[in-house]
């Protein structure tokens, strides 16, 4: 979910900066960087570029900055589960009038410095302000415009990521469980297939074989249990708004919100949370009825 910020200074309208997509060259020429890059590993470096069109007259007029102001354009790469951030491009724009096309890149990103995903964050900020209006930005670094694009480098693919493990190798306490659900509930904006995983127990050949044969009873039980697990976990998080439009398409937040909408149409988030809290058996029965019924 994105947060709305009130900046304490004037900022340019969206139309003043037109940002082209991030492009990556391959053997056949340029391609638009996708949200999910298949077949990536550490040995694969990324060469990226994009174009920015800046209406500097319009930007100055919107922000109350004079033409002798100077701006800074930076691109940062954020990567990894432990979130490291690095500046990979910077350019000063010393003449703040007319219009300008800026070519960003090619940026060469070493595969061995990346992990999991890259967030490409493009920021236009103030280097030095000639203030024409009182609400014009003043401090160096004032963030005028920002654009962020996430490309997932690992994970994802199928709609329901599954893997098999011998549970007894991990813990004797789980040895006979048929399945285990892994959910990163703090990552509501992440793609469903990256934030959620079903692990099937190879010790439970009865279950594994039934799933591989797509037996109706087993598949509907798995599906009902899976939906119950995900929505129950997310409803306990205050961050989860239950509105699909608050989350990117295909994200865990959007998928769970759509499930709840299907199971509890016309009910307010508070009513759904109350039912889970006060009548959990009814809640689970409804979820199973909608998602665990025979196909």
């Amino acid at each position: 979910m994105s947060e709305v910020l009130a900046f304490p200074f004037l900022r340019p309208g969206r139309s003043r900066i037109e940002a082209g997509p991030w492009m990556g060259p391959d053997a056949d020429g340029a391609y638009e960087l996708p949200e999910l890059l298949p077949d990536w590993d550490y040995s694969v470096g990324l060469g990226l570029h994009r174009t920015l069109e800046l209406d500097l007259d319009g930007l100055s007029s919107d922000t109350g900055l004079g033409p002798s102001s100077s701006l800074l354009l930076h691109v940062y790469v954020v990567t990894g589960e432990l979130k490291l951030r690095k500046c990979v491009f910077d350019q000063a724009l010393r003449d703040c009038s007319g219009s300008l096309q800026v070519q960003i890149g090619p940026l060469e990103l070493e595969g061995a410095e990346l992990q999991g995903y890259i967030d490409l964050v493009t920021v236009l900020s103030v280097e030095r302000a000639e203030r024409i209006e009182r609400l014009a930005p003043m401090a160096p670094g004032s963030r005028l415009w920002e654009d962020q694009f996430r490309c997932r480098l690992e994970g994802g693919g199928g709609r329901l990521p599954m893997e098999t493990r011998d549970f007894s190798e991990v813990s004797a306490r789980y040895a006979l469980a048929p399945w285990y659900f892994r959910l990163e509930e703090s990552r509501l904006d992440d793609r469903f297939e990256a934030a959620f995983q079903v692990i099937l127990n190879t010790r439970r050949q009865d279950v594994l074989e039934a799933i591989s044969r797509k037996e109706t009873l087993m598949m509907s039980t798995l599906q009902g249990d899976l939906v119950r697990h995900v929505v129950t976990r997310l409803l306990r998080s205050e961050e989860f708004t239950l509105r699909a439009e608050d989350y990117p398409d295909g994200s865990i937040g959007a998928v769970a919100a759509a499930w709840l909408d299907a199971a509890f149409p016309d009910q307010e988030p508070g009513q759904i949370r109350d039912m889970l809290e006060q009548r959990p058996a009814d809640f689970e029965a409804i979820v199973f009825s909608v998602f665990g019924g025979a196909a």
């Binding site: 590993d41 550490y42 800074l72 990894g80 670094g141 963030r143 991990v170």
Partner: protein, 253 residues
């Protein structure tokens, strides 16, 4: 260059091993560098051999022994162990940044490779110190070393002298806030200003001062591109925030 791949525990295995540690009443002991639940990234490099993992374990144990392991230890011993281990992990152990970014690698360290050191370093068995998040015992040490100490070939050289004086509280404030200090340049600048302020103002309660300053910097970062400031501007901004926190403290006392 081939990347050396390190073993890791996925979330499922981490949960299971952590549950066993949490329920175990006695001291946790090391068993083996191998564990059936440990896996490697499927492609993109070559697997680190187990002899190397044993060497890393031995090196970390030796460092810990220098600072009191396995006996009870004081705050200063812990601080020195943390500094030396951070430097070792970030500079000498050979863990590439891409692998060090994986939570599962650090879960392998705490739960398989050096569980006895984890138990000694953080008595009380808090999950966050054993699982693979930003507070993992050894993951956070690598992060300190990487962000503040390591030479990133950007003309600034190494920054170990900025890392060494930092107290546990200062490190938590600076390093465990990825939105503020995920960039090595910003993290080191904050660390160097902290050290100078403490040197110039002996007797000042640094915990309160640091919390105030970090709060201001975090708020500043929302509307200002802190990481994009020039060297002097960044230093000036961080300095100003710490000076303002110092002035706030003087007013209150």
């Amino acid at each position: 260059m081939t990347v050396e791949l390190f073993p890791r525990l996925d979330g499922f295995a981490t949960d299971a091993l952590w549950n066993e540690v949490a329920r175990f009443p006695g001291p946790v002991e090391f068993e083996d560098v191998r564990h059936p639940a440990a896996t490697f990234t499927a492609t993109g490099g070559t697997r680190c051999d187990f002899d190397k993992l044993r060497r890393i374990r031995n090196d970390l144990v030796r460092l810990a022994r220098d600072h009191g392991f396995p006996d009870a230890r004081g705050d200063e011993e812990v601080r020195q162990f943390d500094f030396r281990a951070a430097r070792y992990l970030a500079e000498e152990s050979g863990i590439p940044a891409c692998e060090a970014c994986r939570k599962g690698v650090w879960a392998y360290f705490t739960l398989v490779l050096v569980p006895d050191l984890t138990d000694w370093r953080f008595p009380g068995r808090k999950r966050e110190r054993w699982a693979g998040g930003i507070r993992n015992t050894f993951g956070v040490l690598w992060r300190r070393g990487y962000l503040i100490g390591v030479d990133h070939n950007d003309g600034r050289g190494v920054g170990w002298s900025c890392l060494e004086p930092l107290t546990q509280d200062a490190l938590v404030q600076i390093i465990e806030r990825p939105d503020l200090s995920a960039s090595p340049r910003t993290a080191r600048t904050i660390a160097s200003v902290w050290s100078r302020i403490r040197q110039e103002n002996s007797g000042v309660p640094m915990e309160a001062l640091t919390r105030d300053a970090i709060r201001s910097l975090t708020a500043y970062r929302v509307t200002q591109d802190l990481d994009g400031l020039g060297e002097d501007e960044l230093l000036g901004r961080v300095n100003a925030v710490f000076r303002a926190a110092l002035a706030n403290l003087s007013r209150r006392s």
